[in-house]
Amino acid sequence: MQVDETTVRRIARLARIKITDEEARGLEQELSGILDWVEQLGEVDTSAVEPMTRVVPIGLKKRRDEVTDGGIADDIIGNAPMTDDHFFVVPKVVE
């Protein structure tokens, strides 16, 4: 699978990672190499195989729908780079 520069840029945009022109060219080669290597899975006939969803056969657990904590706004914003009162501050998104 050959990944071209346009695809690398589209993927980087989806992943929200800024890349330089030089990085984009390097990544074309690297991603193509890795995707070529995983192509070998095509040899395996999986037409009658279910995809794995969990390795240990246990049912999904349920719990009561109730509030178990709260009142910890100071903790929640404690590590944020920019806050105002109990809000996270981000650059303006609506004009």
Binding site: A15, G33, M52, P81
Partner: protein, 495 residues
């Protein structure tokens, strides 16, 4: 006084019980050793001396009152992937700069409840992505082992739990916590002459462990002996309502297993693990391991795990896919680094470009690609189907054998830079370990011998789900036959 740092966890526990030394003396011995060694080895990214000495003082009071808990006063190192309240927890990434969680991971909480002492946080590959500890934002960890050719080339300790393995091997803690997504406990254990076990998926809670690939991640101990690993795993494991994949089953007393007979145990030797170009000394060690288990009364069986060769490529779809999703949370808004940009999207993109290292960015991009519109079925779904087949191979094998013996790695420790230019060469480090994560099984690495260069090699035992006990039992047989492998020379204290 004898050098307390050379003790095993079990020996230190006995010494504290017999009041041969205090928890404070033991902790101070490790803090001194870390101060002397860390400039050379870089195993710790932060030490928590004040807290360690306070915990040790509390342990001494409890021991005096006869109220010692299972790990009372025992000094441990904690991988930086575990969230520890108010203490550096960054997965050794720049993107989590300054992050000090206001909560404690379940596994570390279990350890403090059991009386253990925290010496500090251990270096690792960034977000646990790597097999050589070269991707850490805090710089690589140097293995305490050196080749005997006199070149003094700096060797890697393996990864991603490279700081944990180096700290245990260099006597900078009694034992350490680690995590394993594709081999990150067992491969560094093999490369440093230490014992590491990845338990069955679900045995240890993942709550509070910074996520890499959620369907594969599992915590476990790195230790100096099989018995020490058994002691520590028992304390780490628990059922946790905060992790819906944690298993609601009692934790056995693993320490009763080492020393029990393996007479009649059926050991499988999978023919697909015999690779072209595998180092002759690795093959020789494997044969030696077979002979040791046979001498102890086990029977040896040739088995086939036909989908083995597809485990690594499937892993390099599943793990990056899950990582790209898990790492989406690092956006420069709620914690860690923020690089201001023109507007919100530019801030996200600038923060993530500056905050993630090269290997992490590479894996996020691979993961984003395989999950992107039109490719999901061809990559992720295909890989999860192959995973079903890998697990099925093991399910068939368990009809014939009780455990499986393989080498842990295809070669001994390599030097810095030897593999870092080629992602796939580095990924091949995990070729014998990754199947175990894909199938959710327990696997242990035990030192088996030394390479021609005088560096450690490991043997891996793979067990049935939740049969860690048999791994400890058979692991002890290997340890008894092979002996333990302390680092021959503390070169870092002589500079």
């Amino acid at each position: 006084m004898t050098d307390l740092t050379r003790l095993t966890l079990a020996e230190a526990r006995e010494g504290l019980k017999a009041k041969s030394f205090t928890a404070k003396e033991l902790t101070q011995a490790f803090l001194d050793a870390i101060e002397a060694a860390n400039p050379d080895l870089n195993a710790y990214v932060v030490t928590t001396a004040d807290r360690a000495l306070a915990q040790a003082a509390e342990s001494d009071r409890r021991i005096a009152r006869g109220e010692a808990r299972p790990l009372e006063g025992l000094a441990l190192g904690i991988k930086d992937l575990f969230c520890t309240r108010g203490v550096h927890s960054q997965a050794c990434s720049h993107v989590l700069d300054g992050f000090e969680p206001p909560y404690e991971s379940t596994v570390t909480g279990n350890l403090w409840d059991a009386g253990a002492v925290m010496l500090g946080k251990l270096n690792m590959d960034e977000f646990a992505m790597g097999s050589s500890n070269e991707t850490s934002y805090y710089g690589p960890v140097t293995s305490p082992w050196r080749r005997k050719d006199g070149s003094n080339a700096q060797l890697v300790p393996g990864g991603s739990s490279g700081g944990s393995a180096a700290a245990v091997a260099a006597d900078l803690c009694l034992a350490a916590t680690a995590t394993d997504t594709g081999g990150s406990i067992r491969q560094p254990a093999a490369l440093t002459g230490t014992v590491g076990i990845k338990p069955t998926y679900g045995r240890c809670s993942r709550w509070g462990i910074i996520a890499f690939a959620s369907s594969l991640d599992q915590a476990g101990p790195l230790a100096k002996s099989v018995r020490d690993a058994a002691i520590l795993l028992r304390a780490m494991a628990s059922h946790d309502p905060k992790d819906s994949t944690s298993v609601d089953a009692p934790v056995p007393d693993y320490e009763t297993e080492p020393g029990r007979s393996i007479k009649g145990l059926r050991v499988g030797v999978p023919r697909e693990y015999r690779l072209d170009g595998m180092a002759a000394e690795v093959e020789a060690l494997w044969q030696q391991g077979i002979a040791w288990l046979k001498d102890a009364g086990a029977s040896i069986h040739d088995i086939s795990l036909p989908h083995t060769r597809y485990a690594l490529p499937a892993y390099y779809i599943v793990a990056p896919a899950e990582a790209s999703s898990n790492l989406a949370r690092y956006d420069g808004v709620r914690y860690g680094l923020r690089v201001a940009g023109r507007g919100l999207i530019d801030t996200y993109e600038s923060t993530r470009a500056a905050g993630f290292g090269k290997e992490v960015r590479r894996r996020i991009l691979i993961g984003t690609y395989v999950l992107s519109a039109g490719y999901y079925d061809a990559y992720y779904l295909k890989a999860q189907k192959v995973r079903t087949l890998i697990k099925h191979d093991f399910d068939e094998a368990w009809d014939k054998v009780d455990l499986v013996l393989t080498p842990t790695t295809p070669s001994p420790a390599f030097a810095f830079g030897e593999k870092s230019g080629d992602p796939i060469a580095m990924y091949l480090e995990d070729i014998f370990t990754v199947t175990v994560n894909m199938a959710g099984l327990p696997g242990i690495s035990i030192p088996g011998g030394l390479s021609g260069q005088g560096t450690p090699l490991g043997l891996q035992l793979i067990g049935r789900p939740f049969d860690e006990g048999t791994l400890f039992r058979a692991g002890q047989v290997i340890e008894d036959a092979a002996g333990r492998f302390p680092v021959p020379e503390r070169w870092w204290t002589k500079d």
